[in-house]
Symmetry: C2
Subunit: 174 residues, 2 copies
């Protein structure tokens, strides 16, 4: 089950060490650079696995603000491998909400695999795999001391076509 | 099958765009910074999935030289996500061999998953999963126009304990 392994990889190879480090950066950020409305990493999970390069492409109310200071680690032979997170400002009516957000990168893999015949699964199974990814990741993160309370999983329905501000509403509503 | 998904993730989320970019950097590098003995990315695959942070930990004949210029891309909401590769100098007798190398990072996930009971597989299956990762990745890369001839998969036997220069020999012999 592809989604099961990708959820574990996302935890072991990224969230497990990025979330504690982010926690520290966010406390320092709020005291110097202006407040974040939420200290949590908002992880966006579109059900159709369609992940844009920039959330602005989905909703013009979601605007890049700046990157947090990067995390660098020596890992697997790569010296100073860099991990970055981006702060976004989200506007709704006249309110502004700012937070660290990104799409769940492994969904890009699920999407592209569903278009490669040799990868072994197609579009019909893709939605099931996204849901399995979401359920597996939720369980892992709930049981993780390093990650607990430091993230928010935002599942995005793919049946909102025509609503240009669905993304910003979903993020703020959470 | 976890290894199948991790091999696809390694290709789709990394090698597919890093290898063509590396090809360009390597041609520029060889003309200005001293020759690389091989232009290919050497991808190290230890059968026991034990991946050190630095190859020097495995073999003192493998020494970090410098990083190539980084690649930056906007992806999945992360602005200017950075991708780096490291050049190593490998000495054997009095010869020096230099190349870009790194361990296959998804093996770190396989290793750690085999120690988490809730992940669903143990140490016995791990070697099978490493072999499946290797076979799947080989097939994907052989059929990829972007990647063909730009990499070398170096499978590392785990039965060389006591040989402090196994790694350097394996890399040079290839
Ligand atoms: N948002 C985000 N920012 C990051 O910096 C990052 N780094 C990893 N990940 C995701 O976490 C998981 C575990 O990562 P791992 O390194 O084991 O596998 C990685 C790794 O083997 C390789 N890879 C990706 N980026 C790099 C990189 N910069 N250097 C070396 N290898 C890399 O290709 C795999 C798939 O990458 P992504 O498909 O981007 O998603 C990964 C993956 O789902 C990230 N996600």
């Amino acid at each position: 089950n592809v989604a099961h392994g990708l959820a574990w990889s996302f935890y072991i190879g990224y969230l497990k060490f990025v979330l504690p480090d982010l926690h520290n950066k966010v406390s320092r950020y709020s005291s110097t650079r202006g407040n974040l409305s939420s200290p949590r990493l908002h992880i966006l999970l579109p059900l159709n696995a369609k992940v844009p390069a920039k959330p602005e492409e989905e909703d013009t109310n979601v605007v890049f603000h700046e990157n947090l200071p990067e995390l660098e680690r020596d890992t697997a032979g790569v010296r100073n491998r860099s991990y970055k997170n981006s702060v976004y400002k989200i506007t709704q009516n006249n309110e502004a909400f700012s937070c660290v957000l990104e799409y769940a990168t492994p969904l890009l893999t699920l999407y592209q695999m569903s278009h490669e015949s040799s990868a072994g699964f197609g579009e019909r199974e893709r939605k099931q795999q996204v849901l399995l990814f979401y359920r597996t990741l939720s369980q892992i993160l709930e049981n993780s001391l390093e990650c607990r309370n430091r993230y928010r999983l935002v599942l995005l329905n793919d049946e909102h076509t025509g609503d240009p501000h669905y993304l910003s509403r979903e993020i703020i509503q959470h």
